[in-house]
Assembly symmetry: C2
Amino acid sequence: MTQVICTVDMVLLTLHEERLKVALLKRDREPFKGVAALPGGFVHTNEDHDVRDAAMRVLKEKTGIDAPYLEQLATFSGAARDPRGWSLSIAHYALVSYEVIDRAGHPDVKLVSVDRSLSLPFDHRLILETAVSRLRSKSQYSSLPCYLAGETFTLPQLQKVYEILMGEPLNKVSFRRKITEMDMLEAIDGEFESAGAHRPAQLYRLKPHFKKQLQLLERGL
Amino acid sequence: MTQVICTVDMVLLTLHEERLKVALLKRDREPFKGVAALPGGFVHTNEDHDVRDAAMRVLKEKTGIDAPYLEQLATFSGAARDPRGWSLSIAHYALVSYEVIDRAGHPDVKLVSVDRSLSLPFDHRLILETAVSRLRSKSQYSSLPCYLAGETFTLPQLQKVYEILMGEPLNKVSFRRKITEMDMLEAIDGEFESAGAHRPAQLYRLKPHFKKQLQLLERGL
């Protein structure tokens, strides 16, 4: 019986130019050398505490990015998905604001809209589609979209993030009621963003507890 | 770098005596020989098409049970969970009616209420808790509980199954509206179950399409 090849792959998602985008990395080795793919790598039993740890390490090593919030997506497996042999990839997804990716400034990382019809190596397209679908359905019931909104944001900006993910306009009053219900934001004392002709808008940030921990809603948005 | 030990574990859930129970199997080898645990085994790269296939094979080989519906739960991993070394288990869960387990009649399988404080080897307790929590939250939004209800059932019987999983009584009218909305049941011509002093109740079964495929509800029960 041959050994199973154990890898992790990372779907790193962000919002840029009002679109949900995924970070692809040009592969620096075979198979598929030079091709843009999800950042991934082998599980290292000598240094990874578990597969979550492996996913964080691989993301950091390959792209220079730390993702405060990441989640296991699913395990993809089989004889055919990797030309090297029977393999499995424990796929994770992470959400960061565009600034985090921009700041890391990795030359081989590029952001591509998830709505484009992408041709990706391995089964990365399936992994990506699974992640996007998970994010979209979870957005309705959780604080997940907040991780895309940056360090600080106004409520209109946050509503826009939710709307882009959910693909539909949201009612402002009910959106604010749900956000209040989740009790995950704190207003930043004295910080406002001027909004053109409008009254300056209060800036908010996630309460520290929710930077790495999701908040859930009983009933969706 | 040492190899990763790749296994699958199966959380097989059923309803018996109005309780949600898990099937435990006495282990026939070390580690933990003789101890009751979730049925599990190694991924066999020479015969398993993927990990789902491995989970179905292991369940069938170890307990004699075929589960029409099973789902990947999550992957549990690390250096400490298995005394043999750095390992991962791609855990799956499956739902069957009590009759299926009873019919298989495996002498080393026992059913234990998931609400009992169980001491289990490896990280099986965490795997079990994750499965039960997934089932309970998904019950509200899907046809998942139907797999526990047996081949045929009346609507009151099905409602009871949902109520046991969700831990609360449900309103009969709204339950029936949601079930109708899911459009997953078919009445069996001329089959009724007599219900004591009551009018005999129509028997239903899942439409063939939904025997292996979940039906989802937009808004929960």
